[in-house]
């Protein structure tokens, strides 16, 4: 029985239990981060190695000028996200953020369909003049292009 242990030993037991739980939590977190975290993709990443259709990802890039179409239901939008190297068609049903416009940056959360269209559940656009999705911070099409070319080379 632990209760017969000397206080010093009980303290060691408690310490061991706490350490095991915390290390367990750390390992669990590390494992989950490897497998569960929704990773950030730019169109060039998808062209190079598309993620499996079940995997939730974030797709970021620029909304291609002239690509934005509203479907007849009035609430579905289709557009193309590009990064200068590749393009991904995106479909989203919902109310688009007020600063979502062609030629501007966007991060779409969702999954890549089997037909290559990205189905977004959520759009994070430039929220106001000070907010930008972290992944797109300081990103212009030219910079995206450089980034992508640097990774491809």
């Amino acid at each position: 029985m632990t209760s017969r242990l000397k206080p010093k030993h009980q303290r060691l037991v408690l310490l061991a239990v706490a350490l095991v739980a915390l290390i367990g939590a750390g390992l669990l977190a590390a494992w989950a981060l490897r497998s569960q975290a929704s990773y950030f993709y730019v169109p060039a990443d998808i062209a190079a190695a598309p993620p499996p259709p079940s995997q939730a990802i974030r797709l970021g890039g620029m909304v291609e000028k002239g690509s934005l179409r509203t479907a007849s239901d009035g609430v579905t939008v289709n557009f193309i996200v590009e990064d200068g190297a590749a393009k991904v068609p995106v479909t989203y049903t919902g109310i688009v953020p007020s600063l979502f416009v062609e030629g501007s940056g966007v991060v779409a959360e969702g999954k890549l369909g089997t037909d290559g269209t990205f189905v977004a559940d959520n759009l994070l656009a430039k929220h106001d003049e000070t907010y930008m999705p972290r992944e797109l911070e300081g990103m212009t099409t030219a910079q995206v292009r450089e980034d992508v070319q640097a990774t491809l080379e």
Binding site: M1, T2, S3, L5, K6, P7, K8, Q10, R11, L14, V17, A18, A21, L22, G24, A25, G26, L28, A29, A30, A32, L33, Q36, A37, S38, Y39, F40, A56, R58, R69, T70, A71, S72, D73, G74, V75, T93, G94, I95, V96, S98, L99, E109, N122, H127, D128, E129, T130, Y131, M132, P133, R134, E135, E137
Partner: protein, 659 residues
Amino acid sequence: MMAEIGLAALWLAAALALLQLAAGWAGARDPEAPIAALVRPVAVLQGGLCVVAFLALIYVFAVTDLSVKLVAANSHSMKPFIYKVTGAWGNHEGSMLLWITVMALAGGLIAIIERRLPERTMLATLGAQGFVALGFYAFLLLSSNPFERLAQPPAQGNGMNPLLQDPGMAFHPPTLYVGYVGVSVAFSFAVGALLTRAVTPDFARVMRPWVLGAWIFLTLGITAGSYWAYYELGWGGWWFWDPVENAALMPWLAATALLHSASVLAARDALRVWTIMLGVVAFSMSMIGTFLVRSGILTSVHAFAVDPERGSFILALLTIYIGGALVVFALRAGHIAEGKRFAPLSREGALVVNNVALSAILGIVLVGTLYPLLTEAFGVRVSVGPPYFNPVSAIFLLPMLAVLCVGPLLRWRRDEFARIRLPMLIVAGIGLAVLIAVWLVGGIAILPLLGLATAAAVAVASILPLRGRRLTRTPLPVWGMVLAHLGMGVALFGMASDTAFQQERLVAAGVGDTVEVGPWTATLDGIAPVAGPNWTAMQARMHVRYRGGDAQLAQPQSRSFWAPPQETSEVALVTRWNGQLYVAIGNEAQGQGDSGGEAGRWQLRLWWKPFVTFIWLGGLLIALGGVLALTGRVAGDIRRREKVRRIGERRAELRELAA
């Protein structure tokens, strides 16, 4: 003139903080040293000066003194008066001034009322407080001066972020800050006790009200912040696992653990080192929270008033405080005498499990929050969101809630399983019954299913400690525990119910169209422009009916502010006891083009959210539980003090008689 008065008060207060540190340090070594007598008055004076500075800031905002840089950058003469006042802390500099003011006031309060601790520990505590405050004064005066003047005042200010022009957001940050600062006071107590090795049940009793107070404010702040995000951002969610939300959640988790371990220390003189450790961790979490929110290292939907240049300053403070505290801890922890022992099956045993689980969840949230920052340093951009946080934290949350059902029924020191077998069977039976019933309904994901079952079990179990007690004689802290635990069950029920049963409709509706969502029908009667003090909006007029009942009015708006130019969504909420109808309006539908839709239709998003209000009701119950516990403890302390006084008087009388 007002700005100069504020700045002068701030410099004086900073000088006093330095004096407080020096005098506290000297006093901790020798309480009889003449300089030690200065500590208490200096702490009180410092609090007063901060109040002067803060009032000066409110004044320059209230009169929109545009020659002050901060006002010009964050305010506008056409803003409603209430937001001129709240604008004083709706920005980086002002909120840091608010932080230091609350902290200095807390120091003054300790100096006035706290007489139970050994004098040396008390002086060391106030010295530590001066040390923490000093860093913030340096930060404020050297890199974030709120009173800086402009050589050329602009004709109009920049305006305030419209998302902040909301009653919820006006009072949410101060609430959280009071919580953060309360945690920093607990940290000062921990450092004081470490330095003088006086880690005793008395120390826990002195620290506990401060932890309780901080915890109440953190709970209220998180609850209010969640409700604000729910109705103001227009996306219908109540928790995003956003880094800024996590920044408030992490100190709350640590404070919750600290609260429970301080109870063990106060009641049973066990978990001494662990309690001190949690005091250090809780403060570290509120510092990391400040760092995340204020440094500009991350951009979040809620991160306001950020500036990357200040990041390094806060990071330096963070390193000094956390590193310093850990060094003191490492040097001193070995000298703290052992606490009392206890059996695994006891109240303490359950609280140890609670503490370990809370720490594990804290670790998981911390890792998930910092991981993207870490990978970004190596050029990899990663997003960590609900797919990580929900299941991984649930792995520790569910067993913790199971222990929450058992713990309050156990006796201190040691207990027999047979004594709690019956209540445990009842609770487990109820949980299992709910699990099976909901599972039979079908179509529900595993986490909400487990959540509903656990919520039922927790709610029932939380009331069981009242069994066999005379309710009128039950001490307030017991009521507090019962209510807070019940609140956990209620909030969990709201979260699970909303996740499992919410229904959503997204349509483009013309005037006269009727939309159905769940048991509701909503008819769009018209859309018209409306104007406010500093915005214009398109407002929909709708009547909504619950199961064909009476018509109620819902008027969602899409607002456009002009200073700064930004659009916000003002949703319409129709609240019933069993949930909320949530209506947001989007843009005018661009139906023309390829498939020939007609114009004059508006995007409407409707949600039926069963029992969603229970999330915040639960949060309020948790906070109310804290208030009851705090009231009970403080009243108990006052009674005890009175008793000691009377015994002293009686003794003096007897001595007189004997003489």
